[in-house]
């Protein structure tokens, strides 16, 4: 007997909010290296909390939205965000009870996603502003964001589906 919006709706709202915050705030922070990627951290957090299907769907949706709002061809980040969310969802069981694991997952996902993104842009004869050096910054900032985003998403997910967490 669930009341209020379902997890899918909540996730969609969270993703749109993250995209807006990303464009309005995080992308504008005058930090060295690339900007933090709140959206990717959120996707990984949804994957870790909700499983591979949730991660895949959230990643694809979020990536598609970011693609549409960016200059690069649509579909690149949709693909990589979806894969990142999916893999995070597969790692769900391993990550659950440790503090460091989400950080490692976020760091690896960010590095993999943005290196792959740069690679595809290179194949398409385009270049990104910050290049590979920027990826380092993005990874570092995403790691910093992780302790804020992942537990929050996990807590919301627990409230949405308490039965999942019980043995």
């Amino acid at each position: 007997m669930r009341t209020g919006p379902g997890p899918g709706v909540l996730a969609a709202v969270a993703i749109v909010a993250a995209v807006v915050l990303q464009a309005a705030v995080f992308a504008r922070l005058p930090l060295p290296g690339g900007p933090p990627s709140l959206v990717l951290v959120l996707v990984v957090a949804i994957g870790l909390a909700g499983g591979a299907n949730a991660g895949l769907a959230a990643g694809f949706g979020a990536g598609l939205l970011v693609d549409l709002l960016s200059d690069h061809p649509v579909g690149i980040l949709a693909l990589f965000f979806a894969l990142a969310g999916f893999v995070a969802g597969l790692l769900e069981a391993d990550v659950e009870r440790t503090v460091l694991a989400p950080v490692v997952v976020v760091a690896l996902s960010t590095a993999a996603v943005y290196l792959a993104y740069l690679g595809v842009l290179g194949l398409l004869d385009r270049s990104a502003a910050d290049g590979v050096r920027g990826v380092l910054g993005t990874v570092a900032y995403d790691v910093v964001l992780t302790p804020f985003v992942v537990p929050l998403v996990a807590a919301v997910a627990r409230r949405m589906a308490p039965a999942r967490r019980l043995p």
Partner: protein, 288 residues
């Protein structure tokens, strides 16, 4: 790590294919311009709202980034400012000093003195409780002990101790100092005693001397005074005591402003002839 189920694998594969198609379509032309603008029309208002809220914060952080360079810039400007201010002050001082020097030359020329110009380097009751100043001229420059010191306006004091390149001068306003004086325009003698930075006190030798407000005093020969005679000292501003009482006292405002001494002259030589009243300021002499 969980193994993906068959359905999940299919979903991933489908999404990968979909993405590749999307990328291909989009990099060939702008197939998605309509969707892009739609997406922008949804998120832009929200983005603007958030930006309006966070712009000050962003500017703050932007400022933080510039903080280092701002600080060095501020420091550079401050240094420049101090330097310019110093030059300005020097210019003003030079102007003021040249005027002072002019007056000093006038005084020494009229009195026939040989004057050694010197700058006051230390001011105030520095030695004991005497009112003294230190000047940047000493034995090397020919300064002798007890030499009279003047500035363009009149008597300053006398040399107390002579160092190699600096000297200490006891000011005429030193409370222990007594200057033998003569009322200008006559031969009535008296003593002007210092009161620190307050006005001098003039006590005539002859109790019957008539002292009036506006009378002017020059240094006189009284008591084998060590001061060169004929130097302007000050002007009577008040007379105390009853007219009939003996030894009336008068308050004398000195011509020299002892609080702001800068350029002074040490009298190295003076003619044997008393210049009498010739050194008094011209305008005031005309008025009397």
């Amino acid at each position: 790590m969980l193994r993906p189920t068959r359905g999940q694998r299919r979903a991933v594969l489908a999404l990968v294919l979909l993405s590749v198609i999307l990328v291909t379509l989009d990099s060939r032309g702008d197939a998605f311009s309509g969707v892009r603008s739609a997406a922008h029309s949804v998120t832009d208002p929200a983005q603007e709202g958030v930006t309006a809220l966070t712009a000050p914060v962003g500017r703050f952080f932007g400022g933080l980034g510039d903080l280092g360079s701002s600080r060095t810039r501020i420091e550079t400007l401050e240094r420049e400012n101090a330097e310019l201010r110093r030059r300005l002050r020097e210019g003003e001082l030079t102007g003021a000093r040249s005027a002072e020097l002019e007056k000093l030359k006038l005084l020494s020329g009229r009195g026939g003195f040989t004057v050694l110009p010197a700058t006051v380097t230390g001011l105030g009751p520095s030695i004991g409780f005497e009112w003294t100043v230190t000047i940047d001229a000493g034995r090397r420059d020919g300064v002798l002990g007890d030499a009279t010191v003047v500035d363009g306006n009149g008597l300053v004091g006398r040399v107390k101790t002579v160092g190699e390149s600096s000297s200490v001068i006891v000011l005429a306003v030193d409370p222990a100092s007594a200057v033998g004086v003569r009322l200008a325009g006559g031969n009535q003698l008296g003593v002007a005693a210092g009161n620190g930075l307050g006005p001098l006190t003039f006590t005539p030798l002859d109790p019957n001397t008539r002292v009036r407000v506006g009378d002017r005093l020059v240094t006189g020969p009284y008591g084998g005074s060590t001061y060169v005679a004929g130097l302007p000292l000050g002007e009577v501003t008040a007379v105390s005591g009853d007219p009939g009482a003996p030894a009336r006292e008068a308050t004398v405002r000195p011509y020299v402003s002892f609080g702001s001494l800068d350029l002074v002259g040490v009298l190295l030589a003076a003619p044997r002839v008393d210049p009498r009243d010739r050194l008094l300021p011209a305008a005031q002499r005309a008025a009397s």
